[in-house]
Amino acid sequence: MSLFKAREWWGTAVEAATPGEEEECDAGCLLVANVNNEQPARDKVVVGGFSGSLRVFLPQAHRSEEGEEVSGYRPDHLLLETTLNYPILQLAVGKFVSSNSLEHLCILHPDRLVVCSVVGVGGGGGGGGQGEHFRLTIAYQHKLPRRGHSLVTGTFGGVRGKHYLAVQSLDGCLVVYEQESLAFVTFLPGSLLPGPIAYLPRADAIVTVAADWSLQCYRYQTIAVASENDNTTNNTTAAAAIPPNNNNNSSNNNRGGSGGRRLTPEWTQLLGEAAVEMKVVGGEEGEPVSLLVLAQRGIYCFKESGVLKFVKKLEFDPSCFTAFIVDKGIHICVASHTNTLLVYRETQLKWASQLQFPPVALTRADFPGITGALVMLGEAGQVQVTYLGTDPSLFVAPPTETREINYDHTDKELVRLHKIIKASTKDTGALVGMGRVPAVPVVLRITAHTPLNTVRVNVAVEKPIGVTQDTFVLRTVCDTSQIMIKFYQAEPYIPPSLSVTIITSYVSHTGAPRINTVQLELPLRLVVRPCTPSKEADHKITISSNKAAVNLPDLFPELVQDAGVGTAIGLQYYNGMEVTILSSRTTNRYRLQSDSMAALWLILKELMRRLKGYWNQPSRRDGEELQLGVASSFPTHELFFEIDAHFIRRKKHKELELQLARRSAQFRAVQRRLLTKFKDKTPTPLANLDSLLEGTYKQIHVTDVITENLKGMEEDGCQLSCVVRLVLEMTRLATGMSDQEFALLSAAVSPVVHLSMEQGWEETTDAAITFLLRSYSRPPPTPMPRDAPPTPELTMPPDTSKLKKHLGILLDKITKGGAQLSLDSTSETKMPELSKETVWHDEPEDPSEPPPPPPEDDPTNVPLGSRLGEDRARSARIRSARQGPRPPLTPASLSEDMPEEDPATEPTPSEELPDLTGDPAAIQLPPPTVEEEPRATSSRHTFTRPPGT
């Protein structure tokens, strides 16, 4: 991390001795010195490698033809290139030859030490001119008694004009050569792995790092004296006999202890961490000598006497360093393994720059054209001479992907997306593109006493009725949460039912999963509108009652077109089917008539419900229960007709599917044939296969017919369902059967017609009826064996005659024979309850109340304010409820409670006529209106929670 970058002034890469391999270098492999004793002195770069290659470079700037100073590597900068037989571990330069005082190059190999002279030949007397090159002449060499690790040179013992050599072996043995002759061999105490080694010139001492991570300083004198004694006994063995790679330390220690005087250090300093490199700076012109130690986590600076001068804790892994004195301050350049170079003046960071590679050796040198350049050697032999350029190497973020933005296009897309977002973020479900169909907005209000997470609300409706959104997941419910949904008629069929089930599932705070089910009925106005009553119709149903016929506008106040006529009312479904209700005051009968049998059902149900509600009101209650009877013939024929219609659809569907299967098989076959033809190497004529393929493809368009047929089937299913319900209800009215019996019957003759099941309505119903017939025709005392009749696999029957026959018999038996429907008790309890009981009651309607606005307008785009108006109305209702009397103009409401208690403590479902205001929360059914102020509603629907959810 730094702003600047070290600028390359000169650089090259050293290759290994064997071509193609990468050179490997370490700290000792770089040397900058005037090795050829050139006058005036110029620094050369000597680079060795583990492969044994040795090169000498003279980096310099040169003038280009334009007269500019150009730097960079040129082949003539390479003065010497040779390959030695052994790996080069370390290079040193000094006055190592006794015959003259010239600088010689000393090369440390693993098992020998070679001192040689570098002499320039050719060229203009070492001037670096054309053709100049060097020659390496070996002056002398020593064979090392042990494997060498590192080398230190210096004026040991204070000699003048010459340098001595000391080699530290891998097992901690110090071999000192006084130039050509071996002086002594000694073992450093406490050494296990060799560390860096340095020579302090003024104190005439050698500093090493021992294995216990302490710095140890031995005076040369002491070492020499200690080894004097040692040498007398051990010299011969040490020099020759001991195998070089014997690292057995214990013997080493023994020798140090037993042979002669024990070597004691002048001073020791505990570093506490392993050292990487050591350097000695100063010592010239009376400057104090400082010993710098680069450890793994810091730089330590010691005085000659072993006193700590300063420490710098490093927050990176250092690889190598160099130090020099400028203006009496010690400057340290540290290179890290993270490719950075940091320059410190003592402990203060002065400069940081990035490097191209982590160097293993670093030194400072002067070259023609540059002074104070940093020479660094990379692990793979990269040699670089760099300077710290002030030109910042700013980090430039890579450019992002720029796209030409078409603003018109983006604007349009944004608007579109906004629309979608708006539509989806409103949790009050907006109706998307439904045309002019009435919709009932329903507000679900969920109350939780403690905040709940992830409450899931599902809304289930039966087919032709649609809902804006059927699944909600509320992240958190604290206190109250509201969901607004709308119900509408999605398909133009006659709906068999207006029930809606709302299932709320959540995990209570104790971790128990809970489910809450609420059933509600949608208002009739959702699917019908008033029209003029018609006199004649194909199908008629007459209902008799034991009470006086009610004025029809009182029963259907919201659906009255002409308030003057009290005995007839016309209703029209949105698909055009008309139903007329006639009431006769004289006979206390009601007649429903329509051109479609199916259309009668919903109206009949509604009529019965309203009649019950009407007579149940306390003001009109007179002790006698309302009794309804049916006074017309059974529409068995129509039922059979609907069954046939549905069955034909199913048959057709099967046929079409078969057809599709055949055609697609043909298509694949043609494709395969074509493929083999195309793959064939010798092209053959297609033989009209292509047109066959196209033809088959066109035939596959039978799928459209299938889709259409499916829709028809759906419609027929609804019709069938309607008629079945109607027949069931009429049976009930005719025979006055108990609820239990009715449940049994409706389980057998199921009014639910599934569309997508493998088993169709016909076969399941047939099986159920057969079972029922068999079971109750049997004498009651013999309990029916549960597993007796092995039910054959339900398959689609070839025709419906059997079903019709069975159905006919069943209905006959029930209506005429008065057969008692029952199963044995075990199965009775298992009878699934198909529909939850819902409790209804009608409010007395204010006759002066104006009729509600027709629910045709689709309140999709209700402006925000109007919804707020509803909110306001609601709070007004709550307030008024508190005050007591209720104004007549209030939206209906319905409650859904989300108790947090255990099921045991759940409030028991209230009886009939629950008190609306007593309920803690309510699902609200605002009237389908676009007016800002809610006007009026048809009826007040109140629901209790169904028992035992």
């Binding site: 583990f50 494997r147 891998l170 991570w213 986590r297 604290c478």
Partner: protein, 500 residues
């Protein structure tokens, strides 16, 4: 070429794998070669070495079941836990958001700087810990467990050293291998008990004269939670020799004992001995930050920058301070420096974008945020969207702001700040119920924020639910006693109640 030399060279160049390989080969030939053995332990240690003097994450268990704290009810300004926002200067909590711990938001994410320091178990358990930020339960189980798995690298031929069969006394006497062995046991094997055993015996052998062993002994005690013993060892080591690491470790002991003043004293002593030591200065700055003494923290961060101009943490923290004290232009320069230095991540662009926006350099704002979004990780993208929402609020595009906050929630479901802001937006739209739900969620998710409480109280006050308003505004004041608006609301409510 001698293989041992090559191994040493590889070790020096940090090619540990190769070094270990060579050592293993050598050891298979001669299993009793101590030098090779020692080198291998060192290489294995270096692979997993962590500077323990630096920050450390305190886990849930450490914070809650902490019985090391000296004063349970510390005086203000002397504890990192109860430190209430002092009015000592610096921007107030209103402008500078606080972390879950109630401490001012720092410029860098450090271990523990984001985590909470909850007061009660209840609060701690409520603190959102999503799958993204599964904090370790305890400091002794968290990071160190992960470090300990390093010993499984050796699965091939079983562990390198079988600690159970190690003759500790024998190795403690051999100083030249004992230290490397200790670090191996401590860092690589993560077996503090054996390490402690070795350290105790080694320091005995050396007649208690080696400061290094004392420091290691202290480290072991520290890791075992024996802070007072650790303190003793560190102090004793400091008597023998001053060492930066010893000062840092002693400071950490005091922080764990919740004695920030004592820690500061230790660091100051260290600075006397080692003037200008960056790590000590940084540690002091962090403590001042924790004590809410932001001006002092910034002073120390500036000192750090004097000695080390490339110190990222110091630059970032200084920039943050400038940003929150209404000097976005200055903060921009600091962040730009970080960018130039090569820090290239989502956070830097996010901060640059915010600085540009508040410094009215609008042209750069969106570009910066674009980059931030493209660089964002799953963890940071929510914050970027949140900040974009702020920018959108600043330019008055409520719709965009709403969507930005929503997007923030999409990426991070527990982003309390976004919930709060969404609540405010809903409040402005008039959806009071929704707003209330948002505020409650926000307060639930981020118990350290006073804003949702205040907003909720205000909402309740507006709709006339004075009782709720009164209760909730007190919660807001408990979190931020200096908040003027909350105080005023409380006063209004009180006068209202008095008149009743």
């Amino acid at each position: 070429m001698d293989p041992l030399f090559l191994a040493l060279s590889c070790f020096r160049r940090r090619k540990f794998d190769r070094c270990i390989k060579i050592c293993t080969e050598l050891l298979s030939k001669n299993p009793y070669d101590q030098a090779v053995w020692s080198l291998k332990t060192r290489a294995l240690t270096e692979q997993v070495w962590v500077d323990e003097c630096d920050g450390e994450e305190e886990g849930l268990a450490d914070v809650l079941m902490d019985d090391n704290t000296i004063a349970s009810v510390a005086r203000p300004g002397t504890s990192l836990r109860t430190a209430p926002p002092s009015s000592a200067g610096g921007p107030s909590q209103t402008f500078r958001p606080s972390t879950q711990s109630g401490r001012p938001l720092s410029g860098v994410v450090r271990p523990g700087s984001q985590g909470g320091r909850p007061g009660t178990m209840d609060q701690a358990l409520r603190t959102p810990r999503t799958a993204q930020t599964a904090r370790p339960v305890s400091a002794t189980s968290g990071r160190h467990v992960r470090l300990g798995t390093a010993s499984m690298i050796q699965v091939g031929e079983g562990p390198f050293i079988n600690l159970a069969r190690l003759n500790v006394a024998k190795y403690a006497a051999q100083q030249n291998i004992a230290k490397a062995l200790f670090e191996y046991i401590y860092f690589h094997e993560n077996d503090v008990r054996h390490a402690l055993d070795l350290a105790a015996q080694a320091t005995q052998v050396l007649e208690f004269k080696d400061w290094w062993w004392k420091v290691q002994l202290g480290r072991c005690y520290y890791r075992l939670g024996l802070f007072r013993d650790a303190e003793k060892q560190f102090k004793s080591a400091l008597k023998l020799q001053d060492n930066i690491n010893t000062y840092l470790l002693l400071g950490r002991v005091y922080i764990r004992l919740d004695q920030p003043m004592a820690a500061l004293e230790v660091y100051r002593e260290g600075l006397d001995k080692f003037p200008g030591e960056v790590t000590l200065l940084t540690a002091m700055a962090r403590i001042y930050e924790g004590l809410h003494d932001l001006p002092k923290a910034v002073k120390y961060y500036r000192d750090v920058l004097h000695y080390d101009a490339t110190h990222v943490e110091a630059i970032a923290c200084t920039a943050t301070t400038h940003f929150y004290s209404d000097q976005p232009e200055v903060a921009l320069r600091f962040y730009r420096r970080l960018l130039q230095m090569g820090i290239y991540n989502c956070e830097i662009f996010n901060n640059l974008g915010l600085c540009c926006f508040y410094a009215q350099q609008y042209d750069m704002t969106l570009t910066c945020f674009e980059r931030a979004l493209s660089l964002a990780t799953d963890r940071s993208i929510a914050d970027v969207w949140y900040n974009l929402g702020h920018v959108a609020l600043g330019i008055g595009d409520i719709n965009l702001a709403y969507q930005c906050f929503r997007l923030a929630l999409v990426s991070d479901n527990d982003h309390g700040e976004s919930y709060n802001n969404l609540g405010v937006l809903e409040y402005r739209r008039g959806n009071l119920e929704t707003a209330r739900a948002f505020f409650m969620t926000a307060a639930n998710l981020s118990p350290h924020m006073f804003q949702p409480h205040y907003n909720h109280a205000k909402l309740a006050h507006k709709v006339g639910d004075l009782q709720t308003s009164f209760i909730i505004v007190q919660k807001a004041l408990a979190l931020f006693p200096e908040h003027v608006d909350s105080k005023e609301l409380l006063k209004t409510l009180e006068t209202h109640f008095h008149t009743l």
